[in-house]
Amino acid sequence: MKHLKLFIPVAAFLAASVFFYMGLFSDPTDVKNANLQRPMPEFSLPDLMQPEKTYHREDLLGEVTLINVWGTWCVTCRVELPYMTKLRQQGIKIVGVYYDNAAEAEFSGINLQQTQADVKQMLANLGNPFVFNIYDKDRDLSLDLGVTGAPESFLIDPEGQIIAHRRGAIDERVWQRDFAPLVAQYQGK
């Protein structure tokens, strides 16, 4: 009996391990999947270049669409633009969600005309992959999408379900691995 108590530590440890094991596979904060298999959020936002024009969620439906969250202030977005432009030439519908940098807005204020001029120049230099750009002026849509930084991209199916998600730039490798098979599935139909 006396010796049995020496087994208490190992027994306690094994009991705790059971919970560790269960805990490993039930983490609700796993952000990796949190963005998938949910509908594109509702929104009502102006066009970046023609602010009198307004877009809604319905404008994105009907075909498989790549939503690209970006900004001129974002360094990696520059790198991504040429490849995205190539994708557009291959017939991928790409819609931009443009947002102003939080800190930039706080630091120096936002001037829409200046932004439009910057965007025009940048797209002229690096290629324009976008059918149109939604101006996420209060960053509400980015918030609903759960965007953590730019660039970030979401692939939505014709019904508006998010089926793929990428944080960071999309290049040939990422596209072929994570996006192309899904797009082929829908375009094949």
């Binding site: 530590p9 800190a103 630091f107 930084g149």
Partner: protein, 641 residues
């Protein structure tokens, strides 16, 4: 090419570790000399190989090789070179590489400094450390390879190091912490080797002591640094959050503290042997558990490393093998251990045992508080959160009996003593305690019982420890380790008084300030001078200048709000005027309209004493290690020890 070399040496080191974990152990059990002799060369080999690996990763960072995925994710060409190097351990993969490298370093240290130890025993210890290395190397190689390339399309520039980590405190915090965590593996290996050999005697304790002290010192330094960093970088003046990851580092510290004291009894009195072995196993097991909790993403925490069930599962299996194996071995073998030593109820043995009880109780509270939310969720009772209020309250009760035992134990003799003998010490100690407490009480007008009690306890520990030092010095010349103990105990007193006074007397205010306006707080007048835009290597910032005046004294404070471009992150750098008696602390909040800013100002008395306490403890452990007796152990001939 360079990253491939690093990857290659990493792979080879796994082969070496596998050999180290098996061959010398078999040699020691079957008494094959050739196998035993192999241990030390293998240890040198692993250390050399992993050093090359670490160097190659540092090289990739230094020369901005963004084709390496890990570099691309955690560095940027605009990052200053020193942060590019510290970015090596800025995220999961690289910090694990550092972890195994430090393990190799400790193993090498054991191999070097144990020349006088019986070669068979050394081989066992090194072999156990080899087994530990196998698991971690496999983990790095199969789930978290830092050398992975992203050919053919790789980013032109990196995603940058997390701005929170771009700081001197964070350059040295992780290596210190890992030195502590991994350092406990030495005591663990000694304990396992002793259990395997069936030789649990005071020699084992004497050998383990300096290693345990060293690991404990590093861990203390790591935790202190982490707390200091949080204080000035997070911008709201907090210094400990009872965050699960902090708890994960605190648990091995508590176990390590208990182990240091228990080892003393085992070495000097040949008692508590089985208990000490269990603590040695626990200290390192809790380090591993901490690693698991942090790396598996099982607990929600600000220190979020990648959350990945596969990685978590890998570590869990590893834990089952190492911890489960060690505890099973303990359960089977420890029954043979008999502590024959006898002692009376009032003796230093018993007081040290009480100290251990308190430390282990604290450990269990932290462990349960950290794991309970997980268990609660898993048995379907929904999510709960156990946070600072719970731990704070427990800690404030816990410290009272602990401090009393701490203050008395060094004065009490081994084996047996009479309470009446201590009477002489009480009068001067009470006088000093009363003087210090009264001074602090009048200065800060502390009208909260628990905080005043904290001050009294700290003063009491200080007075009793000082008294003990004085009377011990009259008898003999004190060894360094005695000074070390005294210093560490003073460190604890400094920590207690720091917590008590800071918690009670800190004042803070959130105000809206225009340049030129001021706010008063505790006789200090904070004047907001101006805000300028400044540019750093990879950020732009608003730098707010403040002039703080009190009487004729003036202090300049500069608080920054930095905007890191690549990750589009905003960070605060608090402006602090540090002092032994009080810190003045300013942080910039939001930029409001018309040039006004939200500003947070604090006056925090005694907050430095928290870290002073940590520094004293670290110095104490250093003094203990430097003691002659350990050098004597190291140079004694085999027969004598």
């Amino acid at each position: 090419m360079i990253p491939e070399i690093g990857h290659f040496t990493l792979l080879i080191s796994l082969v070496f570790a596998t050999l180290l974990g098996t061959v010398p152990l078999i040699g020691a059990q079957k008494n094959i000399a050739a196998f035993i002799h192999l241990a030390k060369p293998l240890v040198w080999g692993i250390f050399a190989l992993l050093s090359i690996s670490l160097f190659c990763l540092a090289w990739a960072f230094y020369f901005n090789d963004f084709s390496v995925y890990y570099v691309a994710m955690n560095s940027n060409s605009a990052l200053p070179w020193y942060y590019r190097l510290s970015a090596v351990w800025g995220a999961h993969e690289g910090s694990l590489l550092l972890w195994v490298w430090i393990l190799a370093l400790w193993t090498l240290a054991v191999a070097i400094f144990s020349r006088r130890m019986d070669e068979v025993d050394v081989a066992r210890v090194l072999s156990v450390m080899g087994i530990i290395a196998i698991g971690f190397l496999a983990f790095v190689i199969f789930t978290s390879n830092p050398f992975e390339r992203t050919f053919p399309s790789f980013p032109v520039d990196g995603r940058d190091l997390n701005p929170l980590l771009q700081d001197i405190g964070l350059i040295i915090h992780p290596p210190m912490l890992y030195m502590g965590y991994v350092g406990f593996s030495v005591a663990f290996a000694f304990a396992i080797a002793a259990l395997l050999a069936g030789k649990l005697d005071s020699t084992w304790a004497r050998w383990s002591r300096p290693w345990t002290l060293a690991a404990w010192g590093f861990l203390t330094a790591g935790i202190t640094l982490g707390s200091w960093w949080a204080y000035y970088e997070l911008g709201w003046g907090g210094w400990w959050f009872w965050d699960p990851v902090e708890n994960a580092s605190f648990m091995p510290w508590l176990a390590g503290t208990a182990l240091i004291h228990s080892l003393a009894v085992t070495e000097k009195r040949n008692a508590f042997k089985s208990w000490t072995v269990l603590l040695a196993i626990s200290a390192f097991s809790l380090s591993l558990l901490g690693t698991f909790l942090v790396r598996s993403g099982i607990l929600v925490s600000v220190h979020a490393f990648a959350s990945d069930p596969t990685r978590g599962l890998f570590i869990l299996i590893y834990l089952l093998i190492v911890i489960g194996g060690a505890l099973t071995l303990y359960a089977v073998r420890a029954s043979n251990v008999v502590s024959s030593h006898r002692y009376k109820l009032f003796s230093r043995e018993v007081l040290l045992f009480v100290n251990n009880i308190f430390l282990v109780a604290a450990l269990l509270v932290v462990l349960l508080g950290t794991l309970l939310p997980l268990v609660h969720k898993e048995i379907g009772l929904g999510s709960i959160s156990i946070g600072a209020p719970f731990f704070d309250r427990i800690a404030s009760y816990w410290v009272i009996p602990f401090a009393i035992v701490l203050s008395i134990a060094p004065l009490v003799r081994w084996k047996q003593d009479k309470l009446s003998r201590l009477k002489g010490s009480l009068a001067p100690a009470i006088l000093i305690t009363a003087l210090i407490s009264l001074t602090v009480y009048l200065t800060f007008n502390i009208n909260s019982f628990i905080h005043l009690l904290g001050v009294c306890l700290a003063a009491w520990i200080f007075a009793m420890t000082a008294y003990e030092l004085v009377i011990s010095r009259q008898k003999t010349k004190l060894p360094l380790s005695h000074w070390g103990m005294t210093m560490a105990h003073w460190g604890f007193a400094a920590l207690v008084i720091g917590v008590a006074v800071t918690q009670f007397a800190s004042k803070e205010e959130d105000v809206r300030l225009m340049p030129g306006e001021s706010v008063s707080l505790n006789e200090y007048n904070f004047k907001f001078i101006d805000v300028k835009q400044v540019t750093g290597p990879n950020y732009t910032a608003y730098k707010g200048s403040f002039l703080v005046t009190r009487g004729n004294s003036e202090y300049q404070l500069h608080a920054e709000k930095r905007y890191y471009k690549v990750q589009s992150n905003v960070m605060t750098e608090a402006g602090i005027d540090a002092g032994l008696w009080r810190d003045l602390y300013v942080s910039l909040g939001e930029n409001l309209e018309n040039g006004a800013w939200a500003v947070k100002v604090h006056v925090k008395p005694f907050v430095r004493w928290l870290w002073l306490g940590g520094i004293l403890m670290v110095m104490g452990s250093a003094l203990c290690i430097a003691d002659k007796r350990y050098r004597r152990v190291l140079s004694a001939s085999k027969g004598q020890i």
